[in-house]
Subunit: 604 residues, 2 copies
């Protein structure tokens, strides 16, 4: 299945050439790995995806997860999938060897999950969330929690979830109302409700380990009073028997897309018999959870890029097979005696294919860039370097979550459009991808919330040091690009945009400095669009620079068209997308205050 | 139900003030009407929509139309709906009195259907298509066809459809392969297949009258050999008994949205016993059908605006009821002891509400503008005026179809986003509207095809006369706006954009003049986005000018906030949308030929 849903050649090109993964293998943590072993790992993931994931994506939409008699039922194929995923070590792929993990770099973990999600986005969350929650226990839990829960999670005998959202609070975690009442034993009694719990329950794990945010009785209000608990569905008794823990599945949210992936409503402690065990220290739950949230944000963006990839290849296949219409001759007429032409020959179809290619591959590159910063932070020996990569990671995380989500919606919409009326019908895949991807802009904090994080926290942290560090990275790319005449004009545009970023920030910052944070943040979502587009421009220039280098080298692994295709797509991105930043900057710098100084009644 | 799905005050403001509908009542054709009678008509449509349409929209999605045993079944509520629609004269609302119609202006017809579609977009197609196909028979059919078919269609005893698309041809009507074989009697024998037939069959009409494009045996190839036929499902016999006409319903296309509205597959003449009657002259079918297609394009755009309206009001209701988060104080902190605030108080939510309001009301205004050109063309006494309004109508039609479709997708996406995770769940409406509206950019020619029509035919017709006429209309609006200091800056921006339109056309035109039509049309879809945005800027300035006038007058019917709200939304449109035209113009004027001079293999 070459390029039915993902392009492995491009993935490897991004890993080895654009993001120089092999440098990581010189670090002690990763020195068990080399290019050969990583290739084998990636190819095994592709084979697993071809055989066990991609063939079931349509069925999982048609026969979605459902709630019955207090349990969630998911598609029967998950039994095989979860068994294989456990055996392949997909839960613990980035954990230390000593914790039973594969100790892979984060960038490789994301590459592997990207392939699986492109094959079937309804699947990997079931083990991705288990990976994240077990990692929280490993990072902050005591030895007893680790030994009780992690081994069974590693092989997916038990599943893991994270329980943040409550009906009355949504994303406002200050308002978490689930309560934890201390007891004389080592556990607390948990009482409350959580909603939108992905992978919250199903028939193929014996037990579920919920990582729950709750407020210890009499804790301070706001986020400073939120603690993290392990709350199993069934608690292990003294003889390892499993005892019902009064964590009741109350229902399933029926969704427009990603219907094979369950989204549950859990009620804890309805009978006052739900036990939870504190993870780490009291009242520090949110900072712990943010380790997982940060990983989950990159993972969510990755899933968006992956769905867009699948939609792109489904529409490309159609464009290569479907004859319709004819080329115009020099009199502007069509010769109807001729056969119809394949639709890929129409420039408007090519435009939509390039738009998809630019969004899909550019987003993937951004995800990998963000992921490798984590690896570099982890393996750097100098404190300064560690801080640098940490700041870059923090800065890029909300963008890596949002850009693939928002632009992925447009990209999958292009896939529908290429198929015309068929694209809207259940007989073809684009409509499903279009429904599936829409949740990506909502998961793990909506676009609005990511944008507040970007402009409100990340741009301002350490007096703007992260932006300065990023500007240096971008400048390095621009300087290399300037060595190639073909790339110079685009390097010039990126340089100009870097100046525009500075100008926008300088224009907005005084509002924050004067304490008018509402004004400062009012157009944070527009800022996200603006800044994200510049970041993607950087990624594309970086992709093109490396393509240019390889074109001239003897070690190239692909046909020339592969590399010229990257350069061509970079030009497309600059010509059709990067041009938009000036308008966004203009909106950001407007002085009208149209959304802050206006009565709510204006809408009624 | 005030503003649950539509704002009647805004609709009436657009009709009576912005588009000066009352001037039409001075014309002979419409002099039976006045403001009072039109108000009564509109209010009765609203009551019908409140009681019979809006309450069923969710159910029609959940229990969609389906195919069983050779028939299509639709929601039971349609029995009442169709009966009422027949009684209310909704099929013949624009027909002459003497044909049993209400002889209403086209702009009022569209206003009425807009209300009904905002209430329930799955419904009005069932009578809208009957209206269109009966009108074709009235316009081009002989007396026998008129008397046999039209009266039963008028009261919806029989339904009407239009059958253009075939599996192998899609939108390429040159390739229609359905064949019509002459007989010695007055009918032809029809043989072929048609797909994507909206409203193609259901249990609540006794019969269906299909208007079918087919090729008479030995007719020339291409569009010059296409004729139009009336092909009933059951043909009336000599004693008015209904005889099966071998027009078989072969299936239903299962769609992502608008699931209550059936989309069928019809096989004609499987047993060589399907009779069709020629409408008008042979080989002129496409020009006849285009009368209907042009109306249908405006109707499709209207439906897009209507769905976006319903989504807007559903998200506005939620924003006014849902508490979440808190305002930041001047230290950038939240006081978590305070109650949460309603989400409408967040600027990002207001931004999404304004975006929806701008798209919904601006699109509606464009639809009404386009519709009233038809009325003015029809009632003008001078040949020159008739031509003027005809050209303006032709020019605006593809934009009226496309702008509400494409921007409506973004607008309904904002509605989902306002609800957060709930917006993606079946318990709330935005996800349905989001699925429903996606078909609007596909119906009646995709956005790509509309864009080819705009740039390829409409911009160039009569040496650009339509654009010149439109520029005069826009200039008149700019001049009036310049009388108000508050509006002057926006009038200036619109003027600048008018210059940009000219510049873009002048830059592209040489490609067409040199016979390089592929190059000329390569970015037609970008041109649509560009030109459409300028047109909406004009509509919004026009809306604001009239609001400004009424604010200062003694005859205003609404609170001041109604009018200042229009002016504020105009400012929003210019600040957040009109700013984008320069980038689109830059893309249009680029010299890189990225989608025309490139190998298809680049994607593989």
């Amino acid at each position: 299945m070459k390029n039915e849903y993902v392009d492995i050649d491009t993935l490897k090109y991004l890993l080895y050439h654009v993001h120089q993964v092999e440098e990581l293998f010189t670090k002690e943590r990763f020195n068990e790995y080399d290019k050969t072993s990583i290739d084998i790992f990636i190819d095994s993931i592709k084979t697993f995806s071809d055989n066990s994931l991609f063939p079931f994506i349509k069925e999982m939409d048609e026969k979605p997860s459902y709630f019955k008699d207090g349990n969630i039922n998911i598609h029967p194929q998950f039994e095989n999938i979860l068994k294989s995923a456990g055996e392949m070590g997909l839960v613990g792929s980035i954990y230390d060897f000593e914790d039973g993990g594969l100790q892979l770099p984060s960038i490789i973990f994301h590459a592997a999950y990207y392939i699986m999600e492109a094959a079937n986005n309804h699947v990997p969350g079931y083990f991705g969330l288990t990976a994240g929650s077990a990692n929280l226990i490993l990072s902050f839990g005591n030895e007893k929690l680790k030994s009780t829960y992690v081994p069974k999670m590693l092989d997916l005998t038990w599943g893991g979830t994270m329980c943040l959202t409550e009906p009355q609070a949504g994303s406002s975690l200050s308002d978490v109302a689930t309560i934890a009442i201390p007891t004389k034993e080592d556990h607390y009694l948990i009482k409350g409700q959580k909603i939108f719990i992905s992978s919250g329950d199903h028939q193929f794990c014996n037990n579920f380990v919920h990582l729950v945010l709750a407020r210890i009785k009499d804790a301070p209000s706001g986020i400073k009073g939120v603690s993290l608990f392990v709350v199993p569905k069934k608690r292990p008794g003294n003889n390892d028997e499993l005892i019902d823990n009064n964590a009741i599945i109350a229902g399933e949210f029926e969704k427009m897309g990603q219907r094979g992936y369950c989204t549950t409503h859990i009620v804890f402690g309805d009978n006052n018999d739900c036990r939870g065990w504190l993870v780490g220290e009291a009242n520090k739950g949110l900072s712990y959870m943010f380790q997982m949230m940060n990983e989950a944000r990159i993972a969510t963006g990755r899933m968006g890029a992956a769905i867009a990839s699948a939609a792109y290849y489904s529409s490309l296949k159609y464009a290569n097979e479907r004859p319709q219409g004819r080329k115009l001759n020099s009199s502007g007429q069509k010769n109807t005696e001729e056969e119809q032409t394949l639709i890929i020959n129409h420039p408007d179809i090519k435009r939509m294919l390039f738009n998809q290619k630019a969004i899909v591959e550019g987003s993937l590159s951004l995800i990998l860039e963000t992921a490798i910063y984590l690896d570099k932070e982890m393996t750097s020996s100098s404190k300064e370097e560690k801080e640098k990569y940490n700041l870059l990671l923090e800065l890029l995380t909300p963008i890596a979550k949002t850009y693939p989500a928002e632009k992925g919606i447009q990209s999958t919409s292009d896939a529908i459009q290429i198929l015309g009326g068929y694209g809207f019908c259940f007989d073809f895949m684009p409509q499903q991808y279009y429904r599936d991807i829409r949740i990506i802009a909502l998961y793990e904090g909506t676009t609005g919330i990511q944008s507040l994080d970007l402009l409100g926290r990340k741009i301002t942290m350490k007096n703007g040091k992260a932006v300065d560090l990023l500007a240096k990275e971008i400048m390095a790319c621009i300087e290399t690009a300037n060595n190639f005449d073909e790339l110079k004009p685009y390097a010039g545009v990126l340089l100009e945009n870097l100046g525009l970023v500075k100008k926008v920030i300088e224009t907005l910052m005084p509002h924050a400095q004067k304490g008018n944070f509402e004004r400062y943040l009012a157009d944070a979502t527009i800022f996200m669009d603006f800044f994200g587009t510049v970041i993607l421009g950087w990624q594309w220039l970086k992709i093109a620079v490396n393509a240019k280098k390889l074109l001239n080298s003897e070690t190239k692994e692909q046909e020339d068209l592969f590399y010229t295709g990257k350069i061509h797509t970079m030009k497309f991105f600059f010509t059709y997308e990067m041009v938009k930043t000036k308008a966004l900057a203009k909106t950001l710098m407007n002085e009208e205050e149209l959304t802050t100084k206006v009565s709510n009644e204006i809408f009624n």
